[in-house]
Symmetry: C2
Subunit: 658 residues, 2 copies
């Protein structure tokens, strides 16, 4: 008796009975689905896809499981710092590649340029530790620029970072695959295909979710650090014992100086080497994945990153210059690989170093797979990016952003044929624009808010702004013709896109806004309903019967180019359905949609105040492929009808048994 | 007064007033659209597409304009015979390519093999002239096999022909582009891209319609015949004056005999040369484009085709063997091009011959663009092929078939990298299977019907059946490992597909069939309607108001993973719409569709007899790209809802002004 009343109560608040095993009622009117996975509705193909999805991506996670997916410092370092640390795998090579244009003598400048870049890195790291302190919830450069400088600088900063993330994936994957072709030259012709395969693996790995990524990717950074430090130790030992070998370039690489060593060339080498600083901002953007206290933990990660990177970069530059290495112009063997062969020999240790380099570069690419989706999530939440970037997949990963960064990086890899040297000129400009804007934002903030210790902070950020701004301008000017112009065009385009999107969402919100006082308009029942009929059959009958229940008057409309078949239909119709009017429309030029829309326009003109129901008999075969056997003109028609106001499209399904 | 009554009459029979300038009323209840083109409804993109379409494809043609699109004999010869005649451009080369495996000495067999192939051709032509006599409306091999041998042999024949058409396009285009790279070797690396471009041009040309194709393509056949006959005349002159040069193979082509000249190799050369017979059936399949009297005209075309082809083929084989030509293994220069340079020199005449060869090969590919769509139209009319192949485009061309043959041929070209030699082994088997079956069908027919003159006809067809059947078996066995196995798999697959399609259409026709006595079931008005709401806004309001006009009880359903936002919605709801029940469903795993379908299932269980209306507020932005900014979950949902019986999906549009 008591139970009965409960049942009736629930039926009253939810419309369904409580004996349904699929829902529990949380409170009156609020249901929760019980099964994690849910039965998959639909045909065999849809079910197979669901099974495949689960096998590749893992079991779905509930929304509230999100906060537990945080990382300790030891796991956050590989995720957030690998981008920057991995730059050591190619930064020196790119500096020497430029200097070598002025002949072998110019290579003595490698170490000074590297040291000046480490100095810039120190400035940037100190500036960013202020950003981390001020924005413990993450957001990084975008948040710092937007809140303190305004919407447009914020968007410029965001656009720069988005481009930077895409290029991080493209450059890191290309460089990682180069580390492989250095030990397996037979793979060299397939490098673009391998690049794309690696990107696909990264997309899938990230769709599985962030904690798994932590597990999957935490070892390589430490592996890389260990093997590179071992190589440098070998080098120091050889240096001290006076057994350091000297590099003998292959005959085809004994190039003459193609240009004199001018100031511009030194600047170009400096801005090519500035890739060394990419990835520093990843820590401040990705703080949400760090365990609380976020600011403290992120700062520790940032400092360790700078120390480790600086050591490797200076060490590699020192030994490369010392032995006089020249980069391979075909990019088949990397500089690191050449250096390793000289310092540790061509044995297994060389192999280990190359494997470690390839692995950390993949991990660096993975950093962007964390950063891009998070930044696009923030942008979407602020209504500057499409809604879809807010969507979390089955495993809580930001699927749209992950797939977007993977696809765009793949595009860059294909366009630039997997060449790191070709991608580098595009890379640094965006990074330094974002650096400069975020530091400028911080300067503005400290001046306004004057929090405790603001005097030291403002000096740090001011120096950071000036230094990174100078590098940004320098890099854009020096590398403009080598590809930086692409970035010069892309950033304004992206900003324009984001502001258009924002305007669109704002207008819609305004138009959809409902005053609390508005009451529900009372529509009278429709006077007239149209039914599209192709033939007089059971499917049409169901639709006609439904239309009859909607409106007192029903008109069946048949559009065809075949007058004879129209006449036949009329004859059968007269014998059968005297109550319902049939209108046949001959469209001699076979533009069915156009003819029907014209007819509906004429009907609407006669009934200007009415929401006209157009009933479409929908034919649902049992197997998905059978849809291919029926012309999809109904679908095209529906799309066209949807674009008409005052028309309500009603699909009445007819289910085939066989 | 009189006019007024008329207007009322028309409104009664058509639902609209006669002052509409878009329709004329043919008889009571039958309207015809007046404008040829119709205003294009929809956004700028759709309009731009319509304008582009018209520019590329021409003005639309009305359905009844079809019968005028027939061709005279002089124009039908290039359309229907070019496939066969153009085979002379590569048949000899493929014979010699096989014989050369046994060394240069084996080349003396080129002429005997060619002559035996001409003998087979004579048999086939005589047999086909019987098919043309018996089936003046066209349909060719498929009709002959189906009517006389039954459905499965008919379908085997059809499948062989469809494959043959696709390969005709692939081989002819590849060979035509080779004729070009023979005079412009710098194009050789881009041959696959050029092949695909040429196929695209053919698709567009054919979408414009058949008569234009006749005009566009009638010159090249005569141009080819003239230039090749000129070349052979030069040859005879040199032969008679004793100045015929002797071919000196380049050093890398002076190959040793790789295999002895055994019987199997001779058979392989014969079956490679059998490509010479491809295209003979085109005349009987494409008879509908010939002006009446179809049989007589088609027979004249057939005989002329055989005479012209035979002359060229024997001439080319004779001179190639005489001067001792060896084909280029990289397929950069064709045999014809080498022969032309020897007979007429490397001057402008050589250039003209190559241009003519390229042109006729393109025209041959065009033959398949006539044949494939017509055969698939016949198959679709017999319900063995999807309905879409019945569809005529704006210009009355069979668009689906044209696009299908172009796409499939493009696929073959890409897979086989545009190599004629690689495609040839696939080509002949299908052709000879179709030959054999149609001749067998004819034998059966003559025996049964015993029309006047049947005794001679039956002998001709019997000989044709035996000869072509022997070649089919021989070609399959000899070339099985070289690619013919693909055809051996494809033909049964196609037959299986066509019978499945047939079964599907039959079942549907049965299920949809309406007994004349069936009366319209009377549905009562729905008791309950569901409305999907994401938020309480104007779009939701419109949908709710419409649902209220449909059913006395309305339930608004909100699915979300965010309990907080659900609570907010409930609060606003209580203040606003007390009359309408709101059910919130929390789906913690974000499977919105699954949760909703479960809920609808539960509702349907409570109301088993009711067609449940589900109202979806549809959001129609003004510009198409704005759709990208709104999650397409509504679309996915609709697809899932359509697969449920007892659910009627109702789209209520909300049109944005801005």
């Amino acid at each position: 008796m008591h139970e009965d009343r409960n049942q009736n109560d629930q039926a009253r608040t939810t419309g369904i009975n409580p004996d349904s095993s699929l829902f529990e009622e949380l409170e009156p009117g609020i249901l929760r689905t019980i099964s994690a996975t849910g039965r998959v509705e639909g045909g065999r193909l849809r079910k197979a896809f669901a099974v495949f999805n689960r096998a590749v991506l893992g079991q779905p996670l509930a929304t509230k499981e999100e906060p537990h997916q945080r990382l300790s410092k030891v796991k956050a370092l590989p995720i957030l710092a690998s981008d920057n640390i991995s730059s050591s795998a190619y930064a020196t090579e790119e500096i020497i590649r430029v200097l070598a244009i002025a002949g072998l003598g110019a290579l003595s400048l490698t170490l000074p340029i590297s040291l000046s870049l480490v100095a810039v890195l120190a400035v940037v790291v100190l500036s960013y530790s202020q950003v981390i302190r001020a924005y413990p919830t993450g957001g990084g450069s975008y948040a710092a620029s937007r809140e303190n400088l305004g919407a447009v600088p914020g968007l410029v900063s965001a656009a720069s970072l988005l481009i930077d993330y895409v290029l991080t994936v493209a450059v890191s994957v290309a460089a990682g695959v180069q580390a492989l072709t250095s030990i397996a030259p037979q793979l060299y012709p397939y490098r673009v295909v391998i690049d794309l395969l690696v990107i696909t693996v990264l997309v899938v790995g990230n769709l599985r979710g962030v904690r798994e990524s932590g597990n999957l990717f935490s070892v390589p950074t430490y592996f890389y650090l260990l093997s590179l430090l071992t190589m440098l130790t070998f080098g120091f030992f050889k240096l001290l014992t006076g057994t350091l070998p000297s590099y003998v370039p292959p005959p085809d690489r004994l190039q003459e100086a193609a240009a004199p060593l001018g100031f511009l060339l030194i600047l170009r080498a400096f801005s090519s080497g500035a890739v060394a600083l990419t990835g520093v901002e990843a820590v401040s953007n990705g703080m949400r994945v760090v365990k609380p206290p976020e600011s403290r933990n992120a700062n520790v990660v940032l400092i360790w990153m700078a120390i480790l990177f600086g050591t490797l970069f200076v060490g590699i530059s020192f030994f490369s210059a010392k032995v006089g290495l020249v980069p391979d112009p075909t990019e088949q063997e990397t500089l690191i690989s050449q250096l390793a062969r000289l310092l540790v020999g061509s044995g297994p240790l060389h192999f280990v170093i190359q494997a470690a380099t390839a692995l950390i570069l993949l991990l660096a690419a993975n950093t962007a797979f964390v950063g891009f989706p998070r930044l696009s999530f923030v942008l979407a939440a602020d209504r500057f990016f499409p809604n879809q970037f807010l969507h979390r997949g089955n495993r809580l990963a930001l699927s749209t952003g992950i797939i977007a960064v993977g696809s765009l990086a793949g595009l860059f890899v294909v366009i630039f044929r997997g060449s790191v040297a070709a991608l580098i000129p595009l890379y640094t400009v965006g990074v330094f624009v974002a650096f400069t804007l975020s530091q400028a934002g911080m300067v503005r903030m400290w001046r306004r808010e004057k929090k405790p210790g603001w005097r030291i902070s403002i000096v740090l950020n001011w120096v950071g702004m000036v230094v990174t701004g100078a590098v940004a301008v320098e890099a854009l000017m020096i590398k403009f013709v080598h590809g930086a112009w692409i970035i010069f065009i892309l950033i304004p385009l992206l900003v324009l896109m984001m502001t258009s999107i924002h305007r669109h969402y704002q207008l819609i919100a305004k138009e959809l806004h409902l005053e609390p006082s508005t009451s529900l308009p009372k529509l009278s029942q429709a006077r007239l309903a149209l039914v599209l009929v192709a033939d007089l059959n059971k499917s049409a009958m169901t639709a006609l019967a439904y239309a009859k229940s909607l409106a007192p008057e029903v008109i069946a409309v048949n559009v065809s180019d075949n007058v004879a078949s129209m006449e036949r239909l009329r004859k059968r119709w007269e014998h059968w359905a005297k109550g319902i009017q049939l209108v046949c429309i001959e469209a001699p030029y076979r533009n069915w949609t156009g003819a029907l829309i014209s007819y509906i326009n004429a009907i609407s003109k006669e009934n200007p105040d009415m929401l006209l129901p157009v009933v479409i008999p929908e034919f649902v075969p049992r197997r998905w492929w059978e849809n291919l056997l029926h012309s999809q003109s109904a679908l095209r028609l529906k799309m066209a009808l949807l674009s008409k106001p005052n028309v309500v499209v009603i699909d009445v399904p007819f289910h085939l048994e066989t």
